[in-house]
Symmetry: C2
Subunit: 421 residues, 2 copies
């Protein structure tokens, strides 16, 4: 576009932006939180359980039962495609279980570690980007270094991962959200998963923290199955490599659900042993509450279809708003996820922070630019995570129309800015 | 008693013991677990909450609210005698909160630490004995050394504590169950608490983990108030010294209650900052459930009187059974607690392990001898913790009559054993 047309466009966009600001919006697309209508789907939980004994006859109201109720472990096993014996059902947060695992690796090391990780000179994690901000801030808090690899539509870039892990024994771990990844929506293929589980690593105690937070969070009627991480790892001689996490946080109540971990027998025994010093048992009443509510894994799947019906229109609204203004302009690309909680927006390089600022000043809160990268550092300043589930549909429409204005305005601002010599 | 009388007594006791074994008992006095009738008192929780918003209007079913609902924090503040601003309400386990604090001291250090505790050559905790086994096993798991001081009726032996902390900067912490201590039932006086909070310590970051697990667990109508640890510490210029813990585990459901921590503003901010990397928020639905169930702190107090009515007879049965057989024999002493969950039995030196073995072989499970000491090491082999709340009253009577036989038998066995030169 010639300079005079760009200048005209800038004037028009500034007018659009003023109109946007004049609306006095107060909208929030920052976090992957369920909407109130989604939470209402689980209202039945509030008058459960009706009983207080589990299948074994144990009183769920009392202490004990560190690995969780067998019946809720069965539900998780079915959903995750693992054996019940591999599952620990815990408290209300899979993030907490991940944090436990990482801190125990630091304080004690894994069963196959030469020493506690905290006694290594350096510990490094491979982080596919863009990724989940809480994964990265946790590692930064714990003094673990991070190196990034690109996340593709079928999972992390395997050659890049291989190159990082092959020779450097300080590279001891890797994050992965395998299904409907946060934020790209990518689904790790069986081929990629098999490569990751089989690849040689310099560290004998390499771990892949397989955060299957969105395992049943389909946005279409194609209900993608996650790769069989534990089976693939076992088949390739690295049974201890993956540790799997999931929860019902975005199934029932975010914050009052049940989390789970699944792993090899050795990893599971290691986890439970450490846990035995930190806890007497999980909230088994809440576990039984969930078992009574769902019945079985198919009950969960049926429930997830009700979530899909509520949130798929919001994801469609994001696509429509972005397409309506930005299609063909060449200033942005975005994901078209078939599951999960996010749309991943890539704006013109060097404008993501400006887009977030413009949106903020128009009353639309977006996740800070860069937050999907370790240390908050998006080297291209182009990535923005959109979370459309929490606001009402009309709010998503209004917010995304506004975001589209901000994306184009920031791009044209950049293109028309005087070049600094 | 002359040797021939002792031999006669041994024969009689062996007959009593055979009778005991013939009863085929299967009784368990090992853990401080509420009985089913106590859990029934909280059955109303299972159909709560009726609402899903807290006082601030936040939807308790969704993410967030790391420090817990204000209204449950108010209840804990009232019960613990602290300000609401000092309280964090957490998940289902105060043990987990203690474990978090200790691991974060190791990994990060306290606000007033020169460095993370894991970077010290040695870290030592002062452990009043007998004490709570899980306190000690936690420290052993985490590589923290333990030194013991005697527990008196008014709290830990202050001169002994002073001597340990005054000059050795590796002595960085201390456990204390201030009210109705596990297992002795001792109540830490205000004088002792004031001394502990004011005493000079070589470590600038000395912490007293004030585990007020039994703060409202009175066995009589004298409802003893705990010493004001936070106030005393603040007044003596050591506001960060104590960190207080409590939970509703033995108030509502053990395992499905709400735990809390209370501390100075600096400690609390430190705890919440660390916690923010490990969790998004506590189970606020369960917190609101508890708020609706109790109303306020007086609701908790009224509820505890119902517990008292159920368990005081069991404690009386322990006293009766021990007195009936052992009064005047000089082979055992035991506590007469006015609160808490335990009776502390001291048998003849060198016979505790034998008593536990005899009881086991008669179908009565007791906590392993020595478990109230660090590393399970009771130097006098005389201490046994009795937990009478979980079995039914008739079972407590039967079990304790049996325990009394075992205590006397072990003593007479010892007195009549050939002396090994």
């Amino acid at each position: 576009m010639p300079a005079d047309q760009l200048a005209e466009r800038l004037t028009a966009l500034r007018a659009d932006y003023e109109d946007l600001q004049a609306k006095g919006l107060e909208l929030d697309l920052t976090r992957g939180k369920p909407g109130a209508d989604q939470l209402d789907l689980s209202e039945g939980l509030l008058s459960l359980p009706t009983g207080h004994r589990d299948r074994s006859g144990a009183d769920v109201r009392n202490y004990g039962g560190l690995e969780g109720l067998t019946e809720i472990r069965e539900v998780f096993a079915d959903l995750l495609g693992v054996d019940t014996a591999q599952v620990v059902a815990g408290g209300n947060s899979s993030l907490t279980m991940m944090y436990q695992v990482v801190t125990w690796l630091l304080l004690h090391g894994a069963p196959d570690s030469p020493r506690p990780w905290s006694q290594e000179e350096k510990v490094t994690f491979v982080c596919p980007v863009p990724g989940y901000d809480r994964h990265f801030t946790m590692l930064a808090e714990l003094g673990i270094d991070m190196v990034t690899v690109p996340m593709h539509d079928d999972g992390p870039d395997v050659p890049a991962v291989r190159a990082l892990v092959a020779d450097d024994p300080s590279v001891k771990g890797m994050w992965l959200v395998p299904t409907y990844a946060n934020p790209t929506g990518a689904v790790c293929s069986t081929e990629v998963a098999a490569d990751l589980m089989a690849m040689p690593t310099a560290a004998p105690d390499f771990r892949i923290l397989w955060d299957n937070a969105y395992v049943v969070h389909h946005l279409t009627d194609v209900e993608t199955k996650s790769a069989d991480a534990l089976g693939l790892a076992s088949a390739s001689g690295h049974p201890n490599r993956p540790i799997m996490f999931a929860s019902t946080s975005k199934i029932t109540f975010a914050g009052a659900g049940v989390a789970a971990l699944a792993a090899s027998p050795e990893n599971k025994a290691w986890y439970l042993k450490r846990l035995s010093y930190a806890a007497i048992g999980p909230d088994k009443v809440n576990q039984l509450r969930h078992v009574e509510f769902f019945g079985d894994a198919d009950g969960v799947r049926a429930h997830m279809r009700k979530h899909r019906d509520l949130i798929a229109p919001k994801f469609a609204a994001v696509q429509e708003a972005l397409s309506a203004r930005l299609d063909g302009l060449g200033v942005a690309t975005w994901s078209q996820p078939v599951g999960g909680y996010f749309v991943d927006l890539n704006v013109m390089d060097g404008t993501a922070a400006r887009v977030v600022q413009l949106a903020k000043e128009a009353g639309i809160a977006l996740t800070p630019a860069g937050s999907a990268f370790p240390y908050g550092n998006d080297p291209d300043d182009r990535n923005i995570r959109l979370a459309p589930t929490f606001p009402a549909l009309a709010e998503v429409e209004a917010a995304m129309a506004g975001v589209a204005v901000c994306v184009e305005l920031a791009a044209v601002e950049k293109l028309t800015a005087p070049v600094v010599e």
